[in-house]
Symmetry: C2
């Protein structure tokens, strides 16, 4: 029997990283958007073998322990100590790894939820382990709690699941344009010297968003944040300006990947699609995912 | 333009009431189930009048301020002070009021979310006001945070939205049989002398559920709780025993209403339906609602 979990992709608009000694108290403040594409994790467990093995594959390709530390950390914590058998974790990502779509957290949370479904444990017990793995191996700080919440989210208090406080903007009528152009690893930025500036600008953006919690504020603050911390290079700014001509709200940079995102009203979709096609850029236009992650037996009908 | 919110009905299996001076710190521990029927709230706002009026209707019938205190409390807090015009709040309940389905919280939360959607505010800002109204007017203690979470929920820490910690059991394959037989008002029980006993037995049930978070544990602990606090009268126990013969898991009492609920596997539905029909009892068999409350413009297609 396969067990499947779907975890939405999560793009961050702005953030304040908060790192403490205890992983469950570490996390981020900020805001972002959950998408209806993301990470699908399939779990297969065979109890017929005489040894204990954990296998992990990304997009169908086996990966070794060194390159899937986060997933192995989650697996070792959630598979019972006395379990004997084969555990296969198949992770499929709709967006490329390292481009700022929260794939690492999606894989961690999906692995945790499928394993808890199979071996026992609540949603929060599983999610805490995913968050811990993310923090320990520097996958991300706020993706797990954002993905648990869904929608357009605002992280009001940092921490792991049950510790963080995550709010939602109430709105509808928007789709999300994403333009993934390249990698920008969380690890590199989190250890760079712009961290203090990120913290200051991020807090300003959150304060403004909470005073006027609308998509308009989110996007204006996101762009101001992205430009002010200096991560948005000239090429990205040029592309953003081209796109903005056909949109009501400004586009901004995906934190942390080299890419752009924008909220697009239904009537703006065709025009902005034309602009991006003219620029010959990779893109997708997806819906916002307002629900919680899903986990359950997979029958294979989809 | 109508704005609509759907809030799931919420039935409590067992609970520990915790009442403090500050409403946002008051709430309950416990466990319960969210249903895919519940409360629909429609908001209509007319800005053409010269005076400010708030109208509330339950199931199409207008109710005065005295009989809709919770809703009026929410409305006064979320309609801007300088707003002039007519505000109509139409609440429709799938289950009868006072029978333990969280209608009061459903109405409060639905009103809060539609008003925040219209006039501004985040999900948590709105939900906090709904919780405050529930606590102040003794509608309920844990329904709002349970309904915000969805699914089969475990309240691990009491309080309002953003303060409470609410977990989920991971499972599927169950529907919920409900047998609503009569009223039992929260207000009466919360001021009775069995409160200490409820607290002790409720904590025991939560501890056991967290050690083995499965539907089985939920229902065995629910029944043990209901019988031990003495709220389950002889007639309810008789009915429960009749139903249990066709179910894998024991049924239990809805907290707080005079009624029963049970988790029913797909293959048990027909048999248990026959039993309840033979007993000539009012009943419904519904799905578990795993999502978050929904709010948005209502086009009228449903």
């Amino acid at each position: 029997m396969l067990i499947r979990a779907f975890i939405p992709a999560h793009i961050t608009a702005f953030f304040v990283p908060i790192i403490k000694e205890e992983p469950q108290l570490s996390g981020s403040l900020g805001a972002g958007i959950n998408l209806d594409k993301g990470t699908n994790v399939f779990l297969n467990v065979e109890e017929t073998t005489l040894e204990r093995h954990v296998h992990v594959a990304f997009n169908g390709e086996p990966v070794d322990r060194e390159n899937a530390r986060i997933t192995y950390h989650v697996a070792e914590k959630l598979i019972p100590e006395d379990f004997i058998g084969e555990v296969e974790v198949w992770q499929y990502f709709d967006f490329p790894n390292g481009y700022g779509f929260g794939n690492s957290a999606g894989g961690a949370l999906g692995t945790a939820l499928t394993l808890a479904y199979k071996f026992g444990g609540t949603l929060l017990q599983a999610a805490k382990i995913a968050h811990e793995a993310e923090v320990l191996y520097k996958g991300g700080l706020g993706d797990v709690v954002a993905q648990l919440t869904g929608g357009i989210e605002i992280r009001l208090k940092e921490g792991g699941p049950g510790e963080a406080i995550v709010d939602n903007i109430l709105c509808e009528g928007y789709r999300v344009l994403v333009i993934p152009l390249g990698r920008l690893t969380t690890k590199d930025v989190l250890s760079s010297d712009i961290m203090e500036e990120i913290g200051n600008k991020g807090r300003e953006a959150i304060d403004k968003l909470l005073k006027d919690p609308r998509p308009e504020t989110l996007m204006y603050e996101a762009r101001r944040f992205a430009e002010s911390i200096g991560l948005m290079d000239d090429e990205l700014i040029e592309i953003a300006k081209s796109i903005d001509k056909s949109l009501t709200l400004p586009s901004s940079m995906i934190m942390l990947g080299r890419g752009l995102f924008a909220l697009v009203r239904e009537e703006e979709v065709e025009k902005v699609r034309g602009v991006v096609l003219d620029l010959d850029l990779p893109f997708d236009i997806v819906n916002i995912y307002w629900g919680k992650p899903r986990v359950g037996r997979w029958i294979g009908s989809e």
